[in-house]
């Protein structure tokens, strides 16, 4: 049984000196340079400027992660920036290509709808039984093709498991941002049974998608259509669908995260999350709580934005399967008991090295995956300032 006593000095020090942090950050600087350049230095001065800003942005954040020992604080800055600039970039792209954010029937029939990872759970059963992808997107080529999203998803799942939801998902940063606005939550009590809701949404959409061969979640529920694209309102049915997804966006992405300081959409509704949680089982990284160091202060339980730590799980020395590896618990733990961990290794050994290993994988993924969209978003903001138009 763990003793409860006041927080003390961190038993395990994760801060590094500036010199050591710089040395550890050096490989990341080279890797991000290589991945972001893609073998070509931008010739346009504005593009070069945007590239330099993005490159510095990521590498300064990574250096600070190593130097201060704080993970979530700097991850959140990169992750939220990614989501916001993704919206800027995507919406501008839609206006450029179609003249509006709405999808016409013509574009749906032509299969020109960008594919996102949230559709993946619905496509698996119909693809297995009918060899059909039930989404009007392009298999290869074009903008956000189905094949490219599948490849990115498989890569992310193998490398980070559900870490995708905190390091890779271009929507997740939105409710993450709103959950950080207030200093203290106004709504504290959340019935733990609500954590089953994403599984129920997953079950419902998988079954209905298989029955009707239609991506039910995209058609009816996806709140993120509010900030990306949506079907043009041409009928009563589409009007109702529009009211539903806008209401869900306001409730799940803005209001509830604001009031609870939790990532409500990601942890209590998104059907992709439970499927991704299953990949946590096969992923090499997880978060562990060392019972020998833990002071049972419960800060991690209170702070976890995804309700992935309970008192029982603390006693068991681990997080729940739904853990998104955001690093909040690692940051708030006063004794350093919560730490990133590599499966199959002793919890108490080489903690800094294991954290570094995870950060290399997760941060490199985030930087590589988001850099293009961040650069495009920045370019469009500069264009807006200089020309008055984003497109």
């Amino acid at each position: 049984m763990m003793k409860e006593h006041p927080p003390q000095e961190k038993t395990v020090e994760v801060r590094q000196s500036a010199g050591k942090s710089f040395l550890f950050a050096l490989p990341m600087m080279l890797l991000t340079l290589m991945m972001m350049l893609g073998g070509r230095i931008p010739s346009d001065p504005q593009q070069l400027f945007v590239f330099a800003v993005t490159y510095l942005f990521f590498n300064v954040l990574f250096f600070l992660m190593l130097h201060t020992g704080k993970t979530d604080r700097y991850r959140a800055i990169a992750f939220i920036t990614f989501s916001l600039l993704f919206v800027v970039s995507f919406v501008s792209h839609m206006f450029e290509a179609r003249g509006s954010m709405s999808l016409s029937h013509e574009k749906i029939i032509l299969c020109e709808v960008p594919f996102c990872h949230l559709v993946i759970p619905m496509t698996l059963i119909p693809a297995a039984f009918t060899k059909t992808i039930i989404f009007p997107g392009m298999i290869t080529g074009g903008f956000a093709s189905i094949a490219s999203m599948f490849v990115i998803w498989i890569g992310a799942s193998l490398s980070m498991g559900r870490g995708w939801c905190s390091w890779g998902c271009f929507f997740g940063g939105l409710d993450d941002a709103f959950s950080r606005i207030l200093k203290k939550p106004l709504l504290r009590k959340i019935n733990p049974r609500w954590t089953y809701l994403p599984w129920a949404v997953l079950l419902a959409i998988v079954l209905t998608a298989a029955a009707f061969l239609s991506p039910t979640y995209c058609t009816w529920l996806c709140p993120f259509k509010t900030v990306t694209e949506f079907q043009a309102v041409t009928s009563f049915k589409i009007l109702v669908q529009t009211i539903i997804f806008v209401s869900l966006f306001i409730a799940l992405v803005i209001v509830l995260p604001l009031l609870t300081k939790r990532r409500i959409q990601c942890s209590l509704f998104c059907p992709f999350g439970p499927m991704q949680a299953l990949t946590n089982r096969i992923n090499v990284f997880d978060v562990r709580i060392d019972p020998d160091i833990c002071t049972n202060c419960k800060r991690c339980v209170k702070a976890c934005p995804t309700l992935s730590i309970t008192e029982e799980s603390v006693r068991a020395g681990r997080t729940l399967m739904s853990c998104m590896k955001c690093g909040t618990c690692v940051d708030v733990c006063p004794s350093g008991a919560a730490a990133f961990h590599v499966r199959g290794t002793p919890v108490e050994e080489n903690r800094n090295m294991k954290r570094l290993l995870f950060l290399y994988v997760a941060f490199l993924f985030l930087a590589t995956f988001s850099a293009g969209m961040i650069q495009d978003g920045l370019s469009r903001i500069i264009r807006l300032i200089t020309t008055g138009s984003m497109i």
Partner: protein
């Protein structure tokens, strides 16, 4: 024999149409495999009643109702509304219900607990009246039968052929040890019920709102 083969060849689609109703129920109940088989039989009996009533109807009118869009939408819409009512009722009013914020328990003991067969029969009947693609084929063929007996026999054998694909469903009982699945099943039933409610309502509106 033709009905049975048609049922076998298109049964996977039938199973896909029945799964959104049956799977959440079986998961939510958390019963053993044997009890689930009993539940499946009750559900199938309801579905058979739906099929046979259609056999009589199809033979009686000697025409393919599916081509009559207005009446087809009315019937399917009504079936969806009934299904949605049953699913939402199941999700919200069962003792130890799924929705943490739902309040009140009323007539549930009468309809759900004391008469489970009535509940499953109703779900089976409403599912049986749905026009899934294989069912449309069966209706079209049954309408061409010479006698009422032939039409009924055709639907009976079609029903047997499609039912084969539902045999794995009771094995969900192997997962009954996971308490979380009981809650998830009931929550999913509510969500699917809400989805069916809107589909049914728009169909009943008969295209007025479309």
């Amino acid at each position: 024999m033709q009905g049975f083969v048609l049922g076998l060849s298109s049964g996977a689609v039938c199973a896909a149409y029945c799964a959104p109703v049956l799977v959440p129920y079986l998961l939510g109940e958390g019963r053993s495999v044997l009890q689930n088989f009993s539940a499946l039989l009750q559900f199938l009996l309801g579905r058979l009643l739906g099929y046979l009533s259609f056999a009589v109807f199809a033979w009686g009118i000697h025409t393919s109702l599916p081509q009559d869009i207005v009446h087809r939408n009315l019937l399917i819409g009504a079936a969806y509304v009934i299904l949605s009512g049953l699913l939402i009722f199941y999700s919200f009013f069962k003792a130890g219900r799924a929705c943490p914020s739902a309040g009140g328990q009323g007539i549930d003991h009468w309809l759900r607990d004391s008469r489970p067969s009535l509940f499953l029969l109703s779900m089976g009947l409403a599912t049986g009246l749905n026009f899934c693609p294989p069912f449309l084929l069966a209706v079209a063929t049954a309408a061409e039968q010479a006698s009422l007996l032939q039409s009924v026999l055709f639907f009976l054998t079609f029903f047997l052929g499609t039912s084969v694909f539902l045999i794995p469903a009771p094995f969900l009982g192997l997962l009954r040890g996971f308490y979380a699945l009981h809650v998830i099943g009931k929550m999913a039933a509510g969500l699917i019920g809400a989805y069916y409610l809107f589909i049914g309502a728009t169909m009943l509106a008969g295209g007025f709102f479309r």
